[in-house]
C-alpha cells in the first residue's frame, strides 16, 4: 500500500533560519510527488510537482528535491509569512490520479 510520512510534525524557526522538511514515501510506480502549502481553514495551495529522481524545482525561498525514497522541501531564509502547514502527496501510475497525503509539517517562523 502507498505510504507517505512527513517529518518533523512541527518546526519552529527564527526568521532567516534555513531548514528542510522531509517526505518519505513508498508507492508502486510513482507518477508524481506533490508539495502543497495549506493555511489554517483553507484549501491546499499547489507548490511543486516532481516526477523523477534527481529533479529539483524552486520558487522564491522554497526548493524541492526528489530521490527514489524521499523528497525534501528546503526553505532558505524564511519569513513569518512562510508559516503554514506543508503537505506532501504521491500519485501512483494508473487509471486515476488520486493522491495519498502525508500528515503535513506545521511550520512556524518567528520574527
Amino acid at each position: 500500500e502507498d505510504q507517505v510520512t512527513q517529518s518533523p510534525e512541527a518546526l519552529r524557526l527564527q526568521e532567516g533560519e534555513s531548514s528542510s522538511l522531509n517526505c518519505s514515501y513508498t508507492v508502486s510506480g510513482l507518477r508524481g510527488l506533490f508539495w502543497y502549502r495549506q493555511d489554517p481553514g483553507k484549501g491546499p495551495e499547489f507548490l511543486f510537482t516532481l516526477y523523477s529522481a534527481g529533479e529539483e524545482k524552486e520558487k522564491e525561498r522554497l526548493k524541492a528535491t526528489l530521490t527514489k525514497k524521499e523528497s525534501f522541501l528546503h526553505i532558505t531564509a524564511p519569513k513569518p509569512e512562510d508559516s503554514a502547514t506543508y503537505l506532501c502527496a504521491v500519485q501512483a501510475a494508473g487509471n486515476n490520479n488520486d493522491m495519498r497525503f502525508g500528515a503535513g509539517t506545521r511550520l512556524t517562523v518567528k520574527p
Binding site: 499547489f46 516526477y51 503537505l87 490520479n97 488520486d98 493522491m99 500528515a103 503535513g104
Partner: protein
Amino acid sequence: DAGVTQSPTHLIKTRGQHVTLRCSPISGHKSVSWYQQVLGQGPQFIFQYYEKEERGRGNFPDRFSARQFPNYSSELNVNALLLGDSALYLCASSLEVHTGPPWNEQFFGPGTRLTVL
C-alpha cells in the same frame, strides 16, 4: 481566472441528516476529486470523477456518494451523518487523470467546513 469554487463555505448538521456539497472545477478541467480532511491530518481521498464517470473510490462507507454533471461540476452527498463526518471537505480539479505532467496536477478549492452535532 477563477479557481475551483465550493459551496457552501460552512455547514452545520445534526446526526442522521443528509448533506450535499457542491464543486465547480477550473474552466477546462474535466476531472474532479473529493477529499476529507480531519483536523491535524492530511486530506484523505474519497472519490474521483472524469468525464462524468467514477474513476476511483477511497475507503469510505456507502453513505458517501458523488456524481459529476455534463458541465464537469460535481456533488458529494453524505447520508446518515455521524459525528465523525465533521471535517473540511475539499474538492480538487485537474485537466486529465491518466496522463502525465502537467495534466494530472490537482488544484484545490477553499473547502466546505462540515460540523455534525
